[in-house]
């Protein structure tokens, strides 16, 4: 009898993973050799200026570095999380020039001169911003890993509705958009919560939106 499909898939994934590790070691060696005494590596780096939470930073980055990795690894702002690293989960959401983006899918070199706000720029223990406080009071998380991204998106969602940006559930494209639960749910779909705190996240955002109305 052939093995069940799941076993086959797992075996294949494992083999692919093993091959990838071997390939990565070779790639690292090749990269190290390339960097040792070649001018090419300089061309693969760039100098950028980033303002993060009001502070300007001048750094040199490998062109491959994402904005997320600069925030976490270079600036040690680890509030912004790496979940899937492919723009599917939203844990890396932060605000750039006033718009929320997936920082994992954006190369840092494309952000020279940009103004970034991370979760550390929203509030701090003892001085939570209203959205952070509402997440706490509504128990809008369990493990908390997705929470910084959820809070970044939550702020942006209220702003996007006020700015009149339509969504998939907006019924009249020419009228003022109402801040409904359906609008919030749809606009939060780029932030996944594996603990399933969605209903409490919705309650927290709704409360802040109503308080600000």
């Amino acid at each position: 009898m052939p093995p069940p499909i799941e076993f086959e898939l797992r075996r294949r994934t494992l083999l692919a993973g093993t091959a990838a590790v071997a390939a990565a070691s070779v790639a690292r060696l090749a990269h190290a050799q390339e960097q040792a005494g070649s001018a090419a590596s300089a061309q693969q780096q760039s100098d950028i200026a980033l303002t993060v939470n009001g502070t300007e930073h001048r750094i040199t980055v490998d062109n491959r570095t994402t904005l997320l990795d600069v925030l976490r690894e270079d600036l040690h702002l680890t509030g912004t999380k790496k979940g899937c690293d492919h723009g599917q989960c939203g844990a890396c959401t932060c605000s750039v020039n006033g718009e929320r983006i997936n920082s994992c899918l954006s190369l840092a070199v494309l952000h020279d001169g940009d103004d970034v706000t991370t979760i550390e720029g929203r509030g701090a223990p003892g001085q939570l911003d209203p959205m952070q406080a509402a997440f706490v009071s509504h128990d809008a998380f369990q493990c908390g890993y997705c929470t910084p991204g959820q809070i970044q998106s939550a702020h942006a969602v209220i702003g996007e509705i006020r700015a009149g940006i339509p969504s998939h559930v907006t019924s009249d494209l020419t009228a003022v958009i109402e801040l409904t639960e359906a609008e919030i749910r749809e606009r939060m779909s780029g932030n996944i919560c594996r603990c399933g705190a969605y209903s409490n996240i919705l309650a927290a955002i709704t409360e802040v939106a109503e308080d600000q109305a």
């Binding site: 294949r12 693969q44 969504s167």
Partner: protein
């Protein structure tokens, strides 16, 4: 990710010239698709040319009464533009049905047209894919493959992938034209219907662009009015690619236009199928999907497309 050098282009024409001249060069704007593919090793440019700062982020009115949408206008900005919402609502509806808020803020108009298929065998570098490695075959066509998301028409024995865009389906029903600049500085206008190539024996060739050619804008003709709808059917209520989507423009006399997403390597529309609109959904789909070659797993798309259009026609 493979190392690459980087430059910021000073003008669209200079960008095109450099892209043609530098080995392994690619343009980058929003990067939402390209960076993902670079992480997976599916794309491996040796040089990136940043075209995001060229002033191609405006929407202007044309002398013909239409709109000229700069290639770097974000999906969010395009969907929210009051002229688009008022005169081309099918486009706002299609964009809002795609991706997430974060992605739409970065994704550009030109990049959306150039995004690659989400075929799982294109994404898995351990599988055969002639789109990824020319001539390597197609794992999606092997016995027991997962083809539920893939195409039913316009496909070939070499590739059954679909074009994943929602925006492009609405632009197709609006008769959009793509404007480019070539490496020698010429302007080209390519009707959207001729822009995405069918796979045939060369699925790696996806567009009519020549090496180095840069999309600078998409133009829409003067508004055609009518009732405009975009209905997307997918496995989740939000943030998923289409199984089938239907863009519809219907005039008071019953005539109109229909384009499909999620079923073909490009937004799928035929004049002969448009002409059947007064005769109902079944007549339209008999034309539009004539010659379809679904797999066992995509057979449902034929029925789903007809029922989706039928539901839209009942709405009015």
């Amino acid at each position: 990710m493979k190392a690459f050098s980087f430059e910021r282009a000073s003008s669209a024409q200079a960008a095109a010239a450099r892209a043609a001249e530098v080995q392994g060069a690619k343009f980058i704007a929003g990067g939402t698709n390209l960076v993902d593919l670079m992480k997976l090793g599916i794309e491996a440019p040796e040089h990136l040319i940043d075209v995001s700062g060229l002033g191609l982020d405006r929407i202007e009115e044309t002398d013909e009464g239409g709109l000229r949408i700069g290639a770097m206008v974000s999906n969010t900005a395009l969907s929210a533009d009051v002229r688009i919402r008022r005169d081309y609502p099918v486009l706002t509806r299609a964009i809002a049905a795609g991706a997430s808020g974060q992605l739409r803020n970065k994704a550009t108009t030109g990049g959306n047209l150039l995004q690659r298929t989400r075929c799982p065998y294109f994404y898995d570098t351990a599988q055969a894919c002639s789109k990824r490695v020319p001539g390597s075959g197609c794992s999606a066509l092997t016995e027991g493959a997962f083809s539920r998301q893939l195409g039913v028409i316009g496909t070939s024995d070499a590739c059954i992938a679909t074009h994943p865009s929602d925006m492009a389906v609405a632009m197709r029903v609006l008769d959009a034209t793509i404007e480019t600049v070539t490496p020698t500085g010429m302007t080209r206008r390519i009707p959207l219907e001729e822009f995405h190539l069918l796979p045939g024996d060369t699925p790696e060739k996806e567009t009519a662009l020549m090496p180095g050619e840069l999309i600078t804008a998409v133009t829409l003709p003067a508004p055609v009015g009518g009732i405009q709808r975009y209905h997307k059917v997918r496995d989740r209520a939000s943030y998923a690619f289409a199984l089938v989507s239907v863009a519809l423009i219907r005039q008071p006399d019953g005539s109109g236009r229909v384009a499909l997403g999620g079923v073909a390597p490009r937004p799928w529309r035929l004049a002969a199928a448009d002409a059947e609109l007064p005769n109902g959904a079944r007549a339209v789909m008999a034309r539009l999907l004539d010659g379809a070659r679904p797999t066992e797993e995509t057979q449902f798309k034929i029925t789903l497309a007809e029922r989706t259009l039928a539901a839209l026609l009942l709405e009015e």
